[in-house]
Symmetry: D2
Subunit: 324 residues, 4 copies
């Protein structure tokens, strides 16, 4: 159950008996109860909106906010009429590579630059990213090209650093249930792109978002990037029905990442089209000027001309579903 009031009220808090979590939402104050609240207690509440929610996640639920929330990364509005596209290399490898990528993806219509500085890699022997040096390059290139930038934080103590340099903080699939990281991102002042874990149900994903919101950060974009499957022919299984369902369950904007979902360059265009047709508010696509030389994820990165074609294709679908 959620109780929303215009102003904080000691009197109400006393009436509610302290069994709530309190979150600010714009000027208003929101009290969240995870346990059923006794009827007499509810009757004592005045000048408040009370919403009953049957799901384990509450603030993230569309039962609470009926309209899709708009989350802004720079000027890009996720959840609005326009399809937002985050594009760029898997990892920042150097200034030149990133600059070339950023200019190209912006020109092709991308609205957010992506690029990893802290890279969570399965193997400790794989390229681990440039770290803070990478963050600096991201900031410089972002400013130079005029495109906002999202990059990943992989532990709570990286959050302040990422917040300083980037326009949005990404939480990767492997960290979807890294609850201390979720809380740190929730305390930051920047929007968060929260990827679905490869073994996570929709409910677990939304509860991860709830962790972020409960700390006061409502700016969460969900990103479907494929779940674990038994067929080795694609890297993961892109769950577009799940993505479509999650949009019904939550007011948060939802995007899809066909690069990580499929792991194959030749499937990015058709699955990007499909994601938009299924209702995605945006896409995240790996683009590299020379995919075959990429230090990570080359096999699933588009080169720049192909990214341009992808954008044209996606654009047609966007218009067909009444979006831009």
């Amino acid at each position: 159950m959620i109780v929303t009031v215009e102003e904080e009220s000691k009197q109400l808090e006393t009436a509610l008996g302290g069994r709530y979590r309190k979150v600010r939402m714009g000027g208003a104050v929101v009290y969240v109860f995870s346990q059923p609240v006794p009827k007499p207690m509810i009757d004592r509440i005045h000048n408040a909106t009370v919403v009953d929610i049957s799901k384990p996640y509450q603030l993230a639920s569309r039962d609470f906010l009926k309209e899709t929330s708009i989350v802004r990364i720079g000027k890009a509005e996720f959840g609005g009429r326009a399809i937002q596209v985050c594009a760029g290399p898997c990892a920042v490898e150097g200034k030149e590579q990133l600059l070339e990528s950023a200019q190209a993806v912006k020109e092709a219509g991308a609205t957010v630059l992506r690029g990893g500085a802290f890279k969570p890699r399965t193997s400790p022997y794989a390229f681990q990213g440039l770290g803070e040096e990478g963050l600096k390059i991201l900031r410089e290139v972002s400013d130079a090209v005029g495109i906002p930038v999202v990059t990943e934080a992989t532990s709570p103590d990286q959050v302040p650093l990422v917040e300083e340099y980037a326009d949005a903080i990404q939480i990767g699939a492997r960290n979807m249930q890294n609850f201390e990281l979720l809380k740190a991102a929730g305390r930051s002042g920047k929007p968060v792109v929260l990827k679905r874990g490869g073994g996570a149900t929709l409910e677990e994903w939304l509860l991860a978002a709830e962790y972020i919101i409960l700390e006061g950060n409502w700016e969460v974009v969900l990103c479907e990037r494929g779940i674990r499957g038994f067929d080795p022919s694609t890297r993961n299984v892109l769950d577009l029905a799940g993505m479509s369902l999650v949009k019904r369950l939550t007011h948060l904007p939802v995007i899809a990442d066909p690069s990580h979902a499929t792991g194959r360059r030749d499937l990015i265009v058709p699955t990007a089209r499909a994601a938009v047709a299924a209702g995605a508010d945006g896409l995240m696509i790996e683009v590299h000027p020379r995919p075959d030389e990429a230090l990570s994820d080359g096999a699933q990165s588009l080169d720049i001309p192909t990214f341009g074609e992808a954008m044209a294709e996606v654009s047609k679908i966007a218009r067909a579903v009444g979006r831009e």
Copy 2:
């Protein structure tokens, strides 16, 4: 390796040493080798097209036939420019129900009627279909309304019966590796709609198609209907990246079944749009005049007005990807 010749040739067969499977393809004759063929043997072949194929499936492979095959069910051409839609109730429940469904789906633009007479049900206590009586109704309604009909056979001895009454034979997901049924369908004179098993890889699916083709029946339409997943929020996981990939691997037309894939009425429209955007050659959708009274699969069936809207939505996507 596949050797294609215009005319059967004893001489060639002697040269090939008998280590092949022989299939007719239109007027031509195709010899298939699953084992590597010695170089000298190949050199003895004349007036033949020889194609090397690295996949375990061969006749189904796009390495063999570069162009997408056209499979005709009645006048509906699967694999051509137009998106074909098979629609109708999960099960034939009676003549009236089917007639009402058939007229409505045809009017809304469906090109093939679907409806089960032999129903493979998880529980022996669930409605098992009307059997031959159901087939007769399917034929009557099909003729009355002027729409071809596809229906399922669940064992080899049902194939001649289904062949007699229906325009195409469906092989369900649970029977995808019922090899005797595949062979029986391969010996029939009717096109086959082959659903992907819920636990089947793309390769296993294509090898199931190969079983059918090897018996001489090239008229196979593949149908993706979702794979098993860990999240109970949808019935299955619709694998559109897999569907898109399978279209690259095979020349056979591929359609998608959002009804069985999602198990939820409210997800059919977005996933149908997504399937077409991902390159599906058609759709299979459950439609029932009164879904809440359906004897099976009501929860995933569209009512008639919603099916009309679905067709309008799908139509916009079809045009956006250059199809009809």
Copy 3:
């Protein structure tokens, strides 16, 4: 709900209103209701045992029969104190191979010979078994060595043939929901070994057994052989917790097949031990005199000396859990 009476009774059947399935069980008659039965109707039943069952499967449920059923294949009693071991080659390749296998496995302590004559193979180009010729060899060897034999039927019309030559009919994992085959096996006079499908839940598996019993055949042995998983390091995922749970849910005996579950020779001994420790009533193990020359499944077959060691290991575990 299940109503058991000593003798068939027209009067009772009239009282029950025809809404049941009727099955003989020994001398008794069993009426099964899949729908709730109205209280007044129950009150009219006399001289009968009435059991309420909350599960979708009923005759297979341990709520119906509290004691584990004993299923006999030849003299081997599945479900009793002794651990039964079915062993032999994946496929019958010839008389000599089978004879050598049969003598060796019997000597090592196996109580049932296994060997495939009709082989359901993923690829149509793989060895498909010797068919009826293989059945004849199985019968001859079985008689010569004095060990009963189980072999697979892959379609309803093979059942009478398998029944004629073998002591038990196996239904393979791919055919677990081949309902016409289940029904044919249910009408046969021989015990059935029913493998769990690689994508099947415990409930689906038990409902498959229910199909067999409903035709009057109570002699069903369940066989866990691994479910589909995402890790390519083993062929399937052996679900021993599921096997242990299914033993609580059903009165039917349950065995495990470590060969198909793991696909790796080096894992058969530890997983066979584990299966018995988890409560398996028996094992099915692939044994080949020369695994590296096997026409199918060589990689997961034990050679004869290793099978002997496996039996010794399993024996220790059997004794540790109070079995033989």
Copy 4:
């Protein structure tokens, strides 16, 4: 490739060209190469042991160390002849509850006490653990009862705290690829119990262990606790074949957690037996004095008498496989 030398050597490091990771192992120094090393470079190495390893994980590989490593938590030796059992409540709820649990599990034969102070919970509204207060209780109880204690750290900055109070650091399944946490645990001076992620392959698990070892901490115990599956009848799928295989792939000791794997109290005894029969070096079992009042995981916790019976059962299997 791994090069081991008795003493650090500038000369060798120069010869190796800096393309290695350096780790101390007891008195020796280990240089690890993830890339193939040119033959001439190898030829320049003297007084060193060179081992070629074909796996992506190297230090964790049994190709490197042939003997199972012994990891000590207090006096409990994981990887030796004796089966070690970690037991205790899911979460520390108070001193009394923990003391009662600790005394009881020690008396029944457990060698390590478990109990969570920092609890990673799917829902932010679920009990999150007592934090540092819980750690203090763990230490007190551990000292009072004379049993070492393992407890979880969920972020890098908790590691020093956990290290201070506990005898071993647990990394939970959700954090298996929380690489910053792995590195922090690798820099600590305490042994680490590393659970397998619910969506992790064996290779990913071993690479996670490699992250820890590369920081210089060789004291790693792997813990299989079930992987994600499609059947809701158990919480996870206990992968005992995988556990058995991982013991072949690594020299690290491996234990199993039947409580989290099954999520059902009634399956713990049979799966614990099975794990030991499959070769587990130990077990982790949730025990609570009053499971029905537990603040978390009550449904999968044993009460104290049942835990005693479990130990007796496990003991029989241990002896049957030549262990204690």
